[in-house]
């Protein structure tokens, strides 16, 4: 019997990268999985890969910066599977790097806060009545080492990620009485934005792996997905309100301030 047999996991932002790794891990452990993201093409591709693992899965196309769309992800999960056990709030739109004094910073705040902080709040609010009624549930939110160390030119992203930690602790305290645990994972893994950072530069990739005490990069499924699964398992039923770095110890060494202004994570997709 697989560990998550009969369970249902919603993994937001799971059409690529770490989110896909997490969705894959849950599928492999027997969970029924709700895949979510903005790109239907990527979503259908992930769905196909999960189904090849023998998993039951659906894809819900939704931009979670709209409250009604965040609600719809939970509604679709219930309509299709009839229950929710794990809510993995991984989705986060990133904005271009810009100096804090530039006027764009304010607009980026609106964008990242809606897509990260508000999205996490809205999906959690939508799932809450069902988790409370079940008397158990797991919510995992996502923060970032970049935010903890205040990485340059990322004010909007950093503020959003630190705000999510505040949300995590508050929900943990309020909803613990219903058997719901709420934790934050701060991952370091081979996400698209991370690989883009050293794309085509093998030396830089190696140097960045060597800056991690475990001397390797985090694998989306086997490292990040596994840790999130562990937090959702019965083993971790007494862990709540925790901020857990899943980064091989990278945070112990601090964050080199290597970002420059002007880097645009959407340059290939959204801003050709």
């Amino acid at each position: 019997m697989k560990r998550f047999e009969g369970k249902v996991a919603i993994v937001t932002g799971s059409t690529q990268g770490l989110g896909e790794g997490i969705a894959t891990r849950f599928a492999r452990e027997g969970a029924r999985v709700v895949v979510n993201g903005r790109s239907a093409t990527k979503g259908e591709a992930v769905l196909e890969r999960l189904r090849r693992l023998g998993a039951e899965a659906i894809y819900v196309q939704a931009d979670l910066s709209e409250k009604s769309r965040a609600q719809s992800v939970v509604d679709m999960a219930l309509a299709r599977f009839g229950r929710i056990d794990f809510l993995i709030n991984n989705a986060q739109a990133q904005s271009a790097h810009v100096e804090a004094e530039k006027p764009e910073t304010g607009a980026y705040f609106d964008e990242t806060l809606r897509a990260g902080l508000y999205a996490s709040l809205w999906t959690s609010q939508a799932a809450f009545p069902h988790l409370r009624a079940a008397g158990r549930g797991r919510i995992v939110n996502f923060a970032s080492i970049n935010a903890v160390f205040g990485a340059k030119y990322g004010a909007a992203y950093n503020v959003t990620k630190e705000a999510i930690q505040g949300l995590t602790r508050t929900l943990a305290n309020e909803w613990g009485q219903y058997g719901i645990t709420v934790n934050t994972v701060l991952p370091s893994g081979l996400s698209p934005s991370y690989t883009a950072f050293f794309e085509g530069d093998a030396k830089r990739a190696e140097a960045s792996a060597n800056a991690i005490p475990m001397r390797r990069h985090g694998r989306p499924e086997e490292d990040i997905g596994a840790a999130v699964a562990g937090l959702c398992s019965d083993d971790a039923r007494f862990i709540t309100g925790q901020a857990l770095f899943v980064d091989g110890g990278q945070n112990l060494l601090g964050l080199p301030q290597l970002h420059g202004p002007g880097y645009d994570p959407h340059s290939k997709e959204r801003r050709p």
Partner: protein
């Protein structure tokens, strides 16, 4: 196939917490031994070592704590370091391992009247992080688990001060003290398992959310 099938685990420190972890590991398939002293030969063969050696606090105001109390508390940290150093080479040779220190929140959320214990608890964080940074390259993860559990000490405190202890427990997010086997042992199992392969150098709270919600129980006031 359980999480620790074919794994050899050693728990040093046979109090309620240590025994709870050992029981949970055994159920997960590990060959577990539990001890109060270092047996070098046994340590070298371990895939997972639980270092639960902090001991009980010496209660007195800082001004009247003597040198011996500080020496004794810090000797326990040195003992933890010796145990870890004994275990690490074998883990390195086998391509990885898990070191789990058991500490106490007194290292972070300081209570008055237990200076040596606060000091030793905080020292464990530095020790844990150093091992994480130096041994991570061998595939060895080192983490510090801070439990809040339904132990003999908590029950003794509750016998004399039930109202304050119930209030204290009720403030935590999950509103209960942890079961040494299922809750504390479960959290240790998470850290010992493949799930936590990339979790290294972390302080992990198996405390039902106490660390975000409530003060620690001060043994100088309530547990005597």
């Amino acid at each position: 196939m359980s999480a620790l099938t074919n794994k050899v685990a050693l728990v040093v420190g046979a109090d309620d917490i240590g025994c709870g972890i050992a029981k949970r590991f055994a159920r997960a398939g590990a060959a577990v031994s539990i001890a109060d002293a270092i047996d070098s030969e046994a340590v070298v063969a371990c895939d997972v070592v639980v270092v639960n050696v902090l001991g009980p606090p010496a209660v007195a105001p800082l001004a009247s704590q003597d040198d011996a109390a500080f020496t004794a508390a810090l000797q326990r940290v040195a003992f933890a370091a010796a145990l870890m150093r004994a275990a690490a080479p074998g883990m390195r040779d086998r391509g990885g391992g898990r070191i789990i220190l058991i500490g106490h929140r007194y290292g972070e959320s300081v209570s008055e009247g237990i200076g040596p214990y606060n000091t030793a608890s905080f020292a464990l964080i530095g020790l844990m992080r150093t091992a994480a940074v130096e041994w991570g390259r061998w595939g060895v993860t080192t983490n510090l688990l801070l439990p809040f559990a339904d132990t003999a000490e908590l029950r003794a405190a509750r016998a004399t001060r039930p109202k304050i202890i119930d209030l204290f427990v009720g403030q935590t997010a999950l509103q209960r003290a942890g079961d040494p086997v299922e809750d504390i042992g479960g959290a240790a199992l998470f850290l010992a398992s493949e799930d936590a392969a990339f979790v290294n150098g972390q302080v992990v709270y198996a405390d039902g959310g106490q660390h975000i919600a409530a003060p620690v129980l001060n043994p100088a006031k309530f547990a005597r």
